[in-house]
């Protein structure tokens, strides 16, 4: 009797387990194919652009650029640097940037020195490095004087870094915007504008007894414009 019960039990278990193996229902997201089923639920093709010609998603980007920084009216500052970043999607990316600044007296300072016969205090920026997030919110085609179609990407920037100056290093938050024009799937021209803020200490350079001593702090708002080329590569399309 016990043996029969065991057989019945084993049989029941087998019968009940049969549908489990033959069914094999799986969970898949069908919300993405309720519209544009031809995109097969692929996020890159769900938007208004399918098969993006110039794709950034899941790609690394290395850039080389130079530019100008408008900071102290008595200084002319030029910079040259590089960046390396990764695009998590077509819309979001993270960059690490660094540049070296080349400062010289501006024509305003030269005129001042020639006219007054004296000079002023300043704090020459020497370089900058930092990290920034980029949000690419616009992508489109533009007509170049009606002759050619160029592909355009507009992004917003925001980040934080450190500005190196003669008097020390200062934490610098910044925000900006920029645009990229694609030359090919790998190369693009990039122009960025960043508004940067840091609080700097001014060191005395004019009055002899106080030379080299701090004479006060001031907020520095720098406007940086950089132009360069970028190289995109990676596992993305």
């Amino acid at each position: 009797m016990k043996f029969i019960r065991i057989i019945v039990f084993v049989f029941t278990v087998l019968v009940l387990s049969l549908p489990l193996h033959s069914l094999a229902a799986e969970e898949v997201n069908v919300d993405t194919i309720k519209e544009k089923y031809w995109a097969k639920g692929e996020q890159a093709e769900m938007g208004v652009v399918q098969n993006r010609l110039y794709s950034k998603a899941r790609k690394f980007e290395v850039g080389f650029y130079g530019g100008i920084i408008s900071s102290d009216p008595f200084l002319t500052v030029k910079n040259a640097g590089a960046s390396v970043g990764f695009h998590f999607s077509e819309y979001l990316g993270l960059n690490f940037i660094a540049w070296k600044s080349y400062s010289s007296p501006s024509t305003a300072l030269q005129t001042f020195e020639e006219t007054i016969g004296a000079t002023t205090n300043n704090n020459k920026p020497q370089g900058f490095y930092g990290a920034e997030g980029a949000a690419s919110i616009l992508y489109g085609k533009l007509s170049l004087v009606g002759r050619k179609i160029i592909y355009y990407d507009f992004h917003l920037l925001g980040g934080v870094g450190q500005t190196q100056t003669e008097s020390g290093n200062y934490i610098t938050p910044f925000a900006g915007l920029g645009q990229q024009t694609y030359l090919s799937s790998f190369f693009s021209l990039r122009i960025d504008y960043r508004l940067m803020r840091y609080e700097e200490t001014i060191i005395e350079k004019v009055i002899t007894p106080k030379l080299g001593k701090p004479v006060g702090n001031r907020i520095n708002w720098s406007n940086s414009i950089t132009v360069g080329i970028t190289l995109l590569w990676g596992p993305g399309k």
Partner: protein
């Protein structure tokens, strides 16, 4: 739990049930709710529902009462209350708690039982609330089968005076039930009967009727009903929640096509949204409309849209055939042949796969089409894209997979909910123990200070009441736990049966689709052969004719450059690009109806001859 706490529990239990129905039926005003089973659900309770239950239900709606607690409270309400309305509301609450817990199938059965019951003045609005919840579930999961027993009861609802919201709920259920019956192939007599129930809502009735008429081939009547409805601006009305406007446009366009109104058909097809799953079919049909209307350039341009970007993955073999026909009509014979060749190369893999599937099926072997579709979505399958995308767009697959996903999520919820209930019971017990411990010295102290005949201070009394309430809730939770566990276990058991039914449904649908695709490909291939024969005949004449007129090519090219730019949208795809593999970037506004910039070679010949005649004169 300590003996003292158990004593307190028994004290509370043996005392009169705290939430008794003290109100006689004569005083009762019935409870009514709105936005059933939504976050915004609100109730205005009648006197039959005791205030305490009202408060508990409101805290459940606010989310301060967990589904497990709400379930146990509702069970207690069901046990303690005597009047019909309260008992039915308790049943509604039980189902509502299960729905909130994510156990949609069990909740659906509960709502069905409520909605199928006899309609009386006391129960009507709660039954309507249950129907409202069924509507919500059916909207999210269209594969849920609606009960005929509820439909039978709807008459009784409509015979009474209902407010606008309740009437809307009833009508939505009727329309949904009608749609389900129509796709299940219910007899015409039943469907006609259902349509009479929709008389109260003109648009809903007209749209439902048009679906019925379209199925039976009454196209003039479909036009009469759908044309005025689709002329109205799109809004979130009752009808658009039931049938998408894109689907209605497609139906209307087909009816226009049958009655020969090609331009009107094309106009409707052009209005279909670019993101709609109906777009591929719409473009294919639009190409046909243009061909029938002898607008060959438009037919070619539209067919070209289906060769661009992701649209190439859709199963639309007729588009290339229409392109070949149109090119043949304007004497562009080499391009017409290229379109046929393009069809052969694009659909060869699809055709071979379908043929092999068909022979496997005829040999009695089975291919797990559901698994293949899932593998395709997970990029693990080699199924041709044309076939797989045709499966994916299937409303049966979308609805069934939605429900399969729900079953999986219910399985996960069951495991979590069981633990949650036990944890909540434990926490409540701890809380009771702590409160009793704190209260004991306070009572002792108060009693010591009390003079004979004096009552306990108000503060202590209220603390005791709170403790009593906690004990009541604890007890309810404890007695509800076994039932809660049984419900969860049953839900898991039923899941297998449901999965089996849904997968079988999907497999059947895929099999039908495969057979249709195979048949369609064979038909298109046959038609293409006929076009090829016609082209070779025409081309032979063309070669002879062109040899007889050696300067024709030069003159025809001049005609082409003389063409005035068309004000319509014109897609200059060129001869080679039309047939090449299009892998470039495609923008949503680039899909749709375009006019191909290709000249009519036949009319060029007429113009050439006219020119020659003028010169000789």
């Amino acid at each position: 739990m300590s003996k003292k706490i158990l004593f307190l529990i028994s004290l509370v239990l043996f005392s009169r049930a705290p939430f008794v129905d003290a109100i006689s039926a004569a005083e009762a005003i019935n409870s009514t709710g709105s936005n059933h089973c939504l976050f915004s659900e609100r109730w205005s309770f009648g006197k039959n529902i005791a205030t305490e239950w009202q408060d508990e239900y409101r805290s459940f709606l606010r989310g301060t009462l967990s589904p497990a607690r709400a379930f146990s409270e509702a069970l207690a309400m069901r046990r303690f209350t005597k009047n019909v309305e309260s008992r039915l509301f308790a049943e509604y609450w039980i189902s509502r708690a299960l729905y909130q817990a994510g156990l949609v199938h069990v909740a659906f059965s509960g709502f069905n039982t409520i909605a199928e019951g006899a309609v009386t003045e006391e129960t009507q609005l709660i039954r309507v609330a249950a129907i409202g919840c069924i509507n919500q579930i059916a909207e999210k999961y269209p594969a849920f089968s609606l009960s005929a027993k509820i439909y039978i009861k709807l008459k009784s609802h409509l015979e009474t005076k209902l407010d606008a919201a309740a009437e809307k709920t009833i009508l939505i259920f009727t329309a949904r039930y009608f749609k389900q019956q129509l796709s299940n192939g219910a007899p015409d007599s039943d469907l006609k009967q259902l349509l009479t129930s929709l008389e109260r809502h003109k648009d809903m009735k007209n749209v439902s009727k048009s679906l019925f008429l379209a199925k039976n081939g009454f196209h003039k009547e479909v036009v009469q009903l759908l044309e005025p409805y689709l002329k109205k601006p799109a809004s979130q009305d009752l009808v658009s929640n039931l049938v998408q406007r894109d689907q209605l446009r497609l139906i209307l366009a087909r009816s226009y096509f049958v009655i020969g109104e090609y331009q009107k058909a094309a106009d409707q097809l052009k209005l279909i949204r670019k993101s709609s799953n109906e777009l591929a079919k719409a473009l294919s049909e639009l190409a046909w409309q243009y061909l029938m209307d002898e607008k060959y350039q438009d037919a070619i341009g539209t067919a070209m849209s289906l060769q661009a970007g992701g649209m190439r993955r859709t199963f639309t073999p007729e588009a290339l055939m229409v392109m070949a026909m149109s090119l043949n009509e304007i004497c562009q014979f080499p391009d017409s042949l290229k379109a046929i060749a393009s069809f052969k190369s694009n659909y060869e893999k699809t055709y071979k796969w379908l043929q092999s599937w068909d022979s496997t099926r005829k040999n009695g072997e089975t291919v797990d089409l559901y698994r293949s579709a899932i593998d395709f979505l997970k990029k693990k399958s080699e199924i041709p894209e044309h076939v797989a995308t045709e499966w994916l767009r299937s409303p049966v697959f979308l609805a069934s997979q939605g429900e399969l996903n729900l079953i999986a999520s219910e399985g996960r919820s069951s495991a979590v909910l069981g633990k949650q209930g036990a944890r909540e019971q434990k926490l409540l017990a701890q809380q009771i123990r702590l409160t009793a411990k704190e209260l004991k010295p306070e009572i002792r102290l108060a009693r010591a200070k009390m003079k004979p005949g004096e009552a306990l201070p108000v503060q202590i009394k209220s603390q005791l009441n709170a403790l009593k309430k906690m004990l009541v809730h604890y007890n309810r939770l404890k007695s509800g736990a076994p039932i809660w566990r049984v419900v969860l276990a049953n839900s898991e058991k039923q899941a297998l049966v449901r999965e089996f039914r849904l997968i079988a449904q999907v497999k059947k649908d895929f099999t039908n689709r495969n057979s249709k695709m195979l048949k369609q490909l064979e038909e298109v291939a046959e038609n293409n052969q006929l076009i090829e024969i016609e082209i070779f005949n025409g081309a032979t004449h063309d070669i002879i004719w062109q040899n007889a007129h050696p300067d024709y090519k030069q003159v025809a090219q001049q005609f082409e450059t003389d063409q005035v730019a068309s004000p319509e949208k014109s897609w200059d795809w060129g001869k080679t690009r039309a047939l090449a593999e299009e892998s470039g970037e495609i923008w949503e506004d680039e899909l749709g109806s375009f006019k191909a910039n290709i000249f009519d070679n036949c009319s060029s010949k007429d113009r050439y001859l006219a020119l020659k005649r003028n010169v000789s004169i």
